[in-house]
Symmetry: D2
Subunit: 437 residues, 4 copies
């Protein structure tokens, strides 16, 4: 399955040269050059390396992580990137996290000094606060000192935190420009609606336009975090390239007109799909406040899929250790203790997403495209990534059984190749902090 | 002082007929008709009845009021309206409160069945929740039952509460239309930014325009509650007629461009002025979180006054009983225990406002206009109210000493007339719930 | 069934004179005097009026009650007393509540001015705070003013509140003496362990002895509230006459030695029994923190019943209106929303208690004695109450079906007599505040 | 000043042999043996090494410490012990902390492998919970996971935590015995009253006696933490050897009878003295809840000192880093931000204590005895420590100026000797975690 949407090629041969695909086709048509090392995977299934449009490689935003791994956040990032790679996700888009350690690991992986999933990162979400801010767990400030709390928040906020919500569109634009110039990010993400108070609008349309303009001026794609019908509409009007969790619209479903725009324009729509099992469990056991939101979300997902929207696999996933998964971890988010099919545990999250997509009516083929080609296109990376085509980076996963027959077959990984090089999966992760020993 | 801005008339005569001023001028020019009852106030000072552009006649949003006066909210409203009238404020604009009891008292006063300050009311602030909602004191819900909490919130919200923030502009417009049709309000007020999270935008520009359109279609003036530079800019762009607490812009001062628009258009700007004494006290003793906001506010006020903005006297005042004023009342807002010159205690609030205005550079004459003519014009009531001119309602206050010499002289009331009728001030308030016995 | 423990009398006749039983026996042996009014209840079942050893006739300790019924607490008390009487509970022991309204209603009922269950009251629990104190809902103080909060707490505490925990045994004794002298209470109850922090001891043994001594000096029985093994042991050593919820011993069961003392001395032990249905529900849905406590409690109950302890029917009951029963009433205690057989709703609580007792192995006969004779004896009121014997007050309930066959038959009330007078049950309660209209 | 209470010796000579004082006396009377190394401190002042009866060498009970220094708590302990030694406090009694790292450092110092103040430790306070328990900061559990919270609490509780409050005296005794046997502690401390709810009694008199008995059986001194008049009385009756913060009696002063017992028996009374400057500051700026407690405490202190009670210098001190000292550190205890003379910062705390003692009427001589001889006696260590007498360990401090002339002279340290060896003060602390770099 080459990820182009065409029918699977049987008896296919892929020739890789210098990390890229130089030829691909039927056995009878394609010949590797002389001296080529041949890997025979007859009887297996080859797909493009999978891509996740929304991860948080360092999701350690509770005090035990913030302090327990201080100075070692890069190790958390690396471990998560390795767990992803090991499980066939060769490219991830980190949409919120501490920028410095993320950049450090990204650069080391890109330079070949470390092994891991290819990382594209946005750093902070423009307008959003750090772990101890009002956007996340301000209660942290009742048990730790202000100096540390401020320092931690600054590590996440990087000068484009909540203070921007007080500014004029012009000033917001300037802050975003400075941010882009201060360290190499791969895309821009901003807050269209509030993180805690989901129905409130974070940036006015003019401010959103200023952010989009700055991102585009720097040649970066731009996306927004939205959680309400109006904030979704505004970000589309502002001209974002990608809608992050477009399916979360709070207590009211996506209005028809906005839905039509999304479909007509084929806007890339990163959605947080959850399996029936998880949803059934959450309906019974999840926090009462979450239930109506999840119900509306599922309604949106079914409509989007039914209408053939350009969905992107997006797990919002992180790597959580056994303690974080323990029964009464207070800041669980989607990781409801005891829940089956928890949708945001990296390593497994992408498979659950595909399952959920199929349950909601997507074809297995389209589910694969959502986790490969669509993500690459959505992020403007289709020149290099997303399909098995000549000229693309040779990221591919060899599966033991047909993934279109059963999404669980995505688990039966024979081999993962990234940039044409076989990954030594048994060695990953190289250090186990969050992973079971 | 006739409130027109011209120099005081000496030896003036005002002739009142059927509740309105039929003649006004110098003694030698104006003659009451035969049979007129003559009131000789030689040596005294006459000003138009004062007007407060922002009061909350029922500010009892704590459990002791909500339950202790259940079924009697109209009595609270009446008492507050009587305290205002007694102190020379003949017209008040109630910008948030329980609509039913407010309408009941307004109508009874207008029909002459009850005595009190003339009331114009907005009912709920479109988009805002009731006392037990997230916008005010959600902690109330941890000590009272849900049925009562919901019932109370509904009494305030009247179908145009926080649920509107999830809706499209069109739906918001429809809800506002229904609200306007469901009971006679005198003006519309909506939330431009959040009440708790002041930097967030409540309604998008399109939704704000929809609200403004509905208000204007019904022939009502419309104002917005804003607390940030962007929400202030949006509401002006949406076309509001009046800016409610335009001087509160959160952590950043009003941007120059917006300031220029306010001045150029002479937009009515209801400001919450506080005296130097109060501000000095609050800087030392007020909650740390309030201090930076108050500092920015004062900066705005000085700029607005210096530039001759069209300020309106607005106290945000309520009537608080001795218990509410007690040391540790937890939900104090501006009523900081122990503070001098508390700016929002009805009865006294308007005088402190005038003092504060003069301290900030306003002339005594303009301070009077802010509390009379400007309010009338801002609310579109200048045909009837705001000045002592022929054809206007005969609302006037007779003072013992020159109010321009010292704002404390506003306290020296000889007599108050409303609609040409002398108020029996000694009988007010007719029942003392909040007032000291 | 005469409540003496002997076999039921068949074809019995009860002669009542001046409110007391003058004769009782077989039809052939007993003859009413000439002129007696004969009530023929052939085929029915007569039991002594039931007694509840632990009620709170005014359990309105949330803001909606405290303020909504301010000045009318006596009406709440009366309604609860009438609901009890209507349902066959002719005598109740109120072990915590606002003393003044309780005394007012008790005295009016005793004087025949009002109809209701006979009330004996303790007023405050010595050492315990009022509704807004740390012992109950201190969060109330975050939404109401301090003046009201203090006033309300004082209404409950009556000078013998938490301040006594700082005092020496002698001083505690003096406070108790003053309390007893300041208004007529019928018995003394004190705190042996903490109300919130159940494992902590409230009064030292010496202080407990001082309280017991003062109560006995005043001719009153004395009981203690205990919630831990040590506090239970201490109160027994201090010489209390009655153990209030002896079955609640926190996280550890009643130690063997203490159990033996209770049994050997036949100490009256007021227990809060709950039915299997309720316990099963609470195990699944109740707050996690309550579950281990309830488990230990049930273990204690089974041991006590198995060993023939002198248990007293005690519901800890109050009258809760529909709002208080609503889904999310935050301060529910045992009234878990959605639970079956809620054990502390007055009117029904005593029947559920009897059911629960039988489920735990008590004979139907002993269950009746627990709700009649044992209570009377435990409170030192056996001269007048608790059995159908000559000289006792003629409190009796006529049932349609055999209560020993099925505890639900306690619901089939034909008639209730108190002091020999037939109660007009259809007229009760005379006013419905909490009761459904 | 030899710490015996006698007048200072002038021209004194101290001969040290094998770490102990072999001779002491006037120059003319005492001669060091041949070959002795002579240190000439003519003109200086020599006092016994100071002793603090109540420290917490690891006071890092907030998340930043608990996680940030996980695995390194011994380094925190060592640093604190070194800061103390550097400042002349040669012996400290650690009355609450994580037992394992404390034992590790104590043993390493005793064995000469590490340099630091001599440590005696109690481990946990019997009956008290760890940092995340209800006794300290249960709010920590709202931001960290349960596994870590439980693990941390267990590290402090060591099997003798709050669960003991549910047990019978016999069971409590058994737990204490197991605790004593499970690791070498130097003394036993238990909770006589609650840590949060100070007026509640933690252990009944019988349970306290059981603890005392177990401690004495193991040859250990035993002390109790009390915070109320009754808990103080109980622990004395139970037979404790030392009263820890005897001066804290909550809202009521120490009753006369208890005061008399303390004085008559000369019970060692570790008191938390605070200077006038600190108290004046706290009265104005400290939390309202603390003020009445501090007032009563000061009253007790003055009475105790006036009556010549056997007071022990006890700082309750810890080592706090710059972040912990920052303005808004939420869990400040006595470290009120901005306060002068903060009484519990190790390194300085003992000098402030002496100042405060003198301010309250103690003679400079007795203040020195409180920080030397009295502590040694109170802890049963007078054979080895506390005075400069023949046979005692040679712990001594050489001062530049007369400490009896001005307590600030305790800061003018020339040299510190411990076990006869000169401390290289310039090298301490050997690593700076909490200390400024």
């Amino acid at each position: 399955m080459d990820g182009t949407g065409g029918p699977p090629l049987h008896d296919a041969v892929i020739v890789i040269d210098a990390g890229r695909i130089s030829k691909i086709g039927r056995e009878q048509d394609v010949h590797a050059g002389r001296g080529a090392r041949v890997v025979d995977v007859r009887g297996k299934y080859i797909i493009p390396g999978l891509m996740d449009a929304n991860v948080h490689l360092d999701f350690g935003i509770t005090p035990e992580s913030l302090f327990g791994y201080a100075g070692h956040y890069d190790e958390l990032v690396l471990e998560a990137a390795q767990v992803e790679l090991k499980n066939g996700v060769t490219t991830v888009f980190d949409t919120w996290g501490p920028r410095e350690p993320l950049m450090k690991v990204r650069d080391a992986i890109n330079a070949g000094r470390l092994t891991g999933s290819r990382i594209f990162l946005g750093g902070n979400i423009i307008g959003m606060g750090g772990p101890a801010s009002a956007d996340f767990y301000p209660v942290i400030r009742s048990v730790i000192n202000k100096v540390d709390a401020d320092r931690i928040d600054a590590m996440w906020e990087q000068g484009v935190g909540p203070a921007l919500l007080w500014m004029t569109p012009r000033e917001v634009g300037e802050k975003v420009r400075t941010y882009i110039q201060s360290g190499r990010i791969d895309f821009v993400k901003y807050l269209s609606s509030g993180h805690k108070d989901m129905q409130f609008i974070a940036f006015s349309l003019d401010a959103q336009k200023a952010i989009v303009e700055e991102a585009h001026r720097a040649g970066l794609t731009v996306q927004a975090h939205s959680t309400s019908p109006e904030s979704l509409r505004l970000e589309i009007e502002a001209g974002v390239d990608l809608l992050q969790h477009c399916d979360i619209s709070g207590l009211e479903p996506i209005p028809d007109e906005t839905m039509r725009t999304i479909l007509d324009r084929g806007l890339p729509c990163a959605a947080l799909l959850m399996t029936d099992r998880y949803l059934a469990w959450a309906a019974d056991h999840g926090p009462a406040g979450l239930r109506p939101l999840i119900k509306v979300k599922d309604l949106n997902d079914r409509k989007l899929i039914g209408a053939g929207a350009n969905l992107l696999l997006a797990s919002d996933g992180g790597l959580f250790g056994p303690r974080e998964k323990a029964e009464s971890s207070p800041l669980v988010g989607l990781r409801l203790a005891g829940a089956p099919d928890i949708p945001n545990q990296l390593g497994d999250a992408h498979i659950l997403w595909i399952k959920a997509a199929i349950e909601r009516g997507m074809t297995p083929m389209n589910a694969l495209l959502s986790g490969t080609r669509n993500v690459a296109r959505g992020y403007g990376r289709a020149t290099d990534l997303g399909t098995l085509e000549v000229g693309k980076r040779a990221d591919l996963v060899v599966l033991d059984a047909d993934p279109f027959a059963d999404p669980n077959n995505y688990r039966g990984i024979v081999d993962v190749y990234k940039d044409g090089i076989r990954v030594d999966r048994s060695a990953l992760p190289t250090a186990r902090i969050m992973s079971p020993q």
